[in-house]
Amino acid sequence: MFTDLHVHSLHSSGADTPAFLRKLAKSLGVELCLCDGVVHEGIASGMEVHADTRRELLSEVRKSWKRFDFLLVHGGSMEINRSAVRDSRVDALLHPYAGRKDCGVDTVVARYAAEQGVAIAVELEDIVTARGIERAKVLSHFREILRLSRKYGFSVLATSGARCRYALRSLREGVALLECCGFSEDEALRALQQVPEGILEKKRRARREVSRGVRFA
């Protein structure tokens, strides 16, 4: 089952109610997690942190990481990309290539991401909505991220980035789209299933801890 960590509902910038999205996602075979910055009952809830400076990012992460099931950081500037992957409380860095000519992941970002267990996310919505040269750039960024992940061993997370019902994608569609960016079937399945499940499991485990490293059996 595809676990989609980046979906927005009517509570943030989306167009559909959480209950509607949950029912639709179930029919598509998708485990829905909402990224509204609001805690939803019965749905894994996360937050997408938007920050302009490192200080702002750290302050937001400190405030939010215990409250939500997962924490995603909207990347773009190299300062934010590096700061996000240096913090193990961050679960994934979203679109590090936003507004950039390169993919936003250099060797420093790749090393930190691998060390701290922060995933770098690729969004299916970016492939779907872009046209012409823009889509070619996105595909090229995804290929570059994949190449660096093979070299440095950080996890690649795939999300739909859906803001409406028509942007949700099934597992089959996700694999097909990722294969267009050079992912093998195994890599695509890992990005769509195992990496997001691992992120949710990591938080569940952390919540069971009484103090760092000590938890109830």
Binding site: T17, L24, G42, I127, R165, C180
Partner: protein, 184 residues
Amino acid sequence: MLRAKPLPPSLRHRKRYIAFRAESDRRLSRREVGAAITCSALALFGETGFAELHLRLLEFNEQEQRGFVVCSHTQVRRVIAAMSAVSEIAGERVHLLPLGVSGTVRALRRKFLSGERGFISSEEKVKLEGKDFILRGTTCGLCYAEPVDEALRERLRILKLRFVGVLDKELRGEEDAADAKHGL
């Protein structure tokens, strides 16, 4: 008139049929859907890649918004990617959802295209979280409501949508405790 001799079975292309459902805020025509799939595949794979797909829209039921395409048996994944990459038709957001793949039209119809898909139109005024909406249609418990609020309409315009997706239970004010508890 002289007709081409049919190829022997061993020389024919092996085909796969892919059933899909078009989801959009308005009813799409066969011509629009066919053009969208072709353009998307051409844009994604180029002319040489498109030639390898042997892709053609064979049928599209405009009432039920379902149909199927035929393609080469080795290119199913790429055709699904091309269909999935269709994001809008005539400025409105759409999703061509693949329902299944089969080697024969008969099996495809039996497995994926049987059963009716009803859509009940409506003009009812409803309230959701204190905001006014006009209910436009319902299918399988999923409701599509047009907001009256201008800020929400503007958000939908940016997302290339007309309606907000709501569950019928939410409009009736019912809380499904079991659903909430188990995260269904």
